[in-house]
Amino acid sequence: MADTIKLEVSRYSPETDAAPHFQSFEVPYRKDWVVLDALNYIKDKQDGSLTYRWSCRMGICGSCGMLVNGEPKLTCATFLADYAPAPVRVEPLRNFPVVRDLVIAMNDFMRKLQKMKPWLIRKEEKPVSEGEYLQSPAQLEAFKQYSMCINCMLCYAACPVYGLDPLFSGPAAIALAQRYNLDSRDQGAKDRFPVLSQHDSIWGCTFVGECTRVCPKHVDPAGAIQQYKLTAALDWVKSVVMPWGGK
């Protein structure tokens, strides 16, 4: 078993480069190392200018998303042992502008999350004296899966529709909207509907399903989107069959 492994890391310096290029590094191969460990080793010992995001190193902060051999992954959860002895190619997330090396600009993503009104909307707040909003385990189950999103953007890197249409809301944003729509404490589904039922929102999704496959938290955004398509379609049928509307 070799004791080093080669990493091909995408480098891009906006001051000097017109486009990203790959730079190879030999790092020690340890069976328990993840790609993030290798990147940290490179930055500590070989090239301090390597720039990348990371934080918790345990798969919960969502900072360290990158492409490993073309596949969107959390580098803190991707073991070198799964690729050894072949070289490992590390690139910034697909479909996002590259700011430097492995860092991408996430402004668009943050804006789309905000568009979904990701907060509990109520017609009237309950006064504190009336106590908390109670929720049964079944009511929690209805939306819990969609609340597990760590905003790592792997789904956006996997989604070909987002790559082709930058206006597309994207998997995480729609899943986030569903997290609130399905929350029994929320009364804002009607407020989110005009944002969701658009060409560049749910109707732009063609159910490729890649987003669900790469999600490290098993949020299943593709399922959330298809379910909302059904909700929106039934809502449309109701509005046509009963135009006087029973709101």
Partner: protein
């Protein structure tokens, strides 16, 4: 980083950010994307079958000679090849469709989510049963 006051129609542009243009052949670059595009292309073969069916009905309405001419047309080797390829694509559509619809539905029984294969499984069974029924109806004539 300055955020524009009004929401921009596209993502913010920064002259030093690198934006890769999506290649026209993006769907060839990963196996999963190719599988997706093949799934979508199966709809072309569905349309081809409908056109064939319409021609059959039209031939039947024109009389027995037209019907025989249509059947002979189907015997053309190119048409048989096309139909065999169509058959594989149409079956691919069915398989992917039943798997997809299982993932698109959340059915809860007693508070627990029903696993996907329990939704797609009955669909596959129904598919075989319905196909057998249609075959029996068509062939006993």
């Amino acid at each position: 980083m300055k955020f524009a006051a009004a929401t921009p129609p596209y993502t913010l542009n920064h002259p030093r950010w690198y934006r890769k243009r999506v290649s026209t052949y993006w769907w060839l670059q990963r196996r999963e994307y190719l599988r997706f595009v093949l799934r979508e292309i199966s709809s072309v073969f569905i349309a081809i079958f409908v056109v064939e069916l319409l021609f059959q009905i039209y031939a039947l309405s024109r009389g027995p000679e037209a019907y025989v001419a249509f059947l002979n047309f189907l015997k053309n080797p190119f048409v048989i090849a096309l139909n065999i390829i169509s058959f594989f694509f149409v079956v691919f559509h069915s398989i992917t469709w039943f798997n997809l619809s299982a993932r698109a539905m959340t059915i809860r029984v007693g508070g627990k989510k029903v696993p996907g294969f329990m939704i797609s499984g009955p669909n596959f069974v129904a598919w075989f049963v319905i196909s057998a029924a249609i075959a029996w109806l068509l062939l006993r004539a």
